[in-house]
Symmetry: C2
Subunit: 285 residues, 2 copies
């Protein structure tokens, strides 16, 4: 499917939103991109970078003429931005988001949208510690994976269009149920962020200094440097799955403590062996 | 201080032991290196690589003529190897190890050695997931940190010699008390290894597959691929500090769960903010 969009609106011109605008424009997939933001400064940077062609602070103005709207705000703002978009955009608009949580957002969309719904929950797994439109780039999504919500309630043509859009900017699309997505990402991303924060707190509480820090600690805690407000929102949006996964994780740590207290050499080795095998399994499968 | 060693013996020709032999030989600091190992295969690789000049499976033979002995075995074997060395080596031999735990080893040395003791506990913080003499290299210790036990019970000349040896192969020496070392490393290395294993187990238990794995998870769990028997030994050697640190870590995770259950937005954000500040503090200080 060849993607040609006349008027695209991107709500939220951070790293993901600005990169999407640059990627679509570079590939000639869009005629005009409108950026909607909360701060004029970010919009100015996105304009300068060429990620958007025009900018507004007002959502309803920004989406009024849109053929497609990408909601690229932090997770906690997707639902209110979707409501504002639905109130002002044309009926046949294509809608999707890029947030790291899906269940609450897709469930809200299912309530708020006319049926079959034209909103598709998306989670492009790209990014890192950098943020803001200044770091956006046109090849940001090349060789990434984009998880795309699969649900019979979604308009099939709209979903095909959104999948084709992600493929066109270089992503591999993987279908996922919204609830399953959140249970998986709690384990692969949200709990690891909480754990990285707790590990750095553990070291700092003891007054540890840099000479005692090796490569292992640096790697393990790198994501602790991510933006606090983003991870606050993600954990709140996905609180049920995150709480369950944290409890399971904490019980496993406690089980290891029991092995160590009992000086169970075989059990301790088996714990590490299983961890090594598990890493190979989940990263190579 | 210029290091000139006539006869050096390295017990354990893995990554650290083989790299030490190569580093000393490359810099003309040693005339002859004898390797002692448990398996002929490793000794053959170390000989082929030029890390050692001759090899034996018998500790007492290997150390009988030694001017200096490096015990580069896994942590759990340092004490018995030290005992065997003390029984067979010349009285004026210089002794040190390279294990990741120090308190139990140095305390054993204090009991076992004549006073002032000529054994110095060392922990060169170099390495990674690779292991074995095949990966050894002469510049392995360049720009690394070597933590060296500081204790008035150690012969000062011997300690100066060992510090100079580490500096000569490119390491920066940092003085540390053995018990403080273990409390710090429990937090910066041993607990992170347990945590990385638990995180991969959490993902594998849920049947997670590679498309759902991002860079964050890969970084955070990289050390879960380390050798199980090495980490079994390290945790057993340092069980008191590891158990205490794991309990503190687990309590912090539980505190985060409580914030999430209460939907305490400010508290959740503060937790992540403190984690980000803590990482900056411990890695940059």
């Amino acid at each position: 499917m060849t993607i040609r969009i006349k008027r695209m609106t991107i709500i939220g011109v951070g790293l993901l939103g600005a990169s999407l605008g640059l990627a679509l424009k570079k590939r000639g997939m869009v005629q005009q991109v409108t950026g909607v933001g909360r701060r004029k400064e970010s919009l100015d940077v996105a304009l300068e970078r060429g990620a958007i062609d025009n900018a507004t602070l007002d959502v309803e103005t920004g989406v009024a003429q849109a053929d497609a709207v990408a909601i690229a705000t932090p997770a906690g703002l997707v639902a209110p931005m979707l409501d504002a978009t639905l109130a002002a955009a044309p009926n046949d608009v294509v809608l999707f988001d890029v947030a790291s949580t899906k269940q609450a957002i897709c469930s809200h969309a299912q309530q708020a949208c006319p049926q079959p719904r034209r909103f598709v929950g998306c989670h492009p797994m790209a990014g890192g510690e950098k943020f803001g439109p200044a770091h956006g780039n046109a090849d940001f999504y090349v060789d990434s994976v984009c998880l795309v919500e699969q649900d019979t309630a979604i308009d099939a043509t709209v979903r095909d269009f959104v999948c084709a859009l992600w493929r066109s900017v270089g992503a591999r699309v993987v279908d996922v149920d919204a609830t399953a997505h959140d249970a998986i990402l709690a384990r692969t991303s949200h709990v690891p962020h909480v754990v990285a924060a707790a590990l750095t707190r553990l070291a700092a509480d003891h007054g540890v200094t840099a000479p005692f820090i090796g490569k292992g600690f640096r790697d393990t805690t790198r994501i602790a440097a991510s933006r606090p407000e983003i991870w606050r929102d993600i954990c709140r949006e996905n609180h049920t799955a995150v709480i369950a996964a944290l409890a399971a994780f904490r019980n496993d740590i406690e089980a290891f403590e029991a092995l160590l207290k009992a000086d169970d050499a075989a059990g301790i080795e088996a714990f590490f062996e299983d961890g090594a095998a598990a890493r190979h399994k989940v990263t190579e499968s």
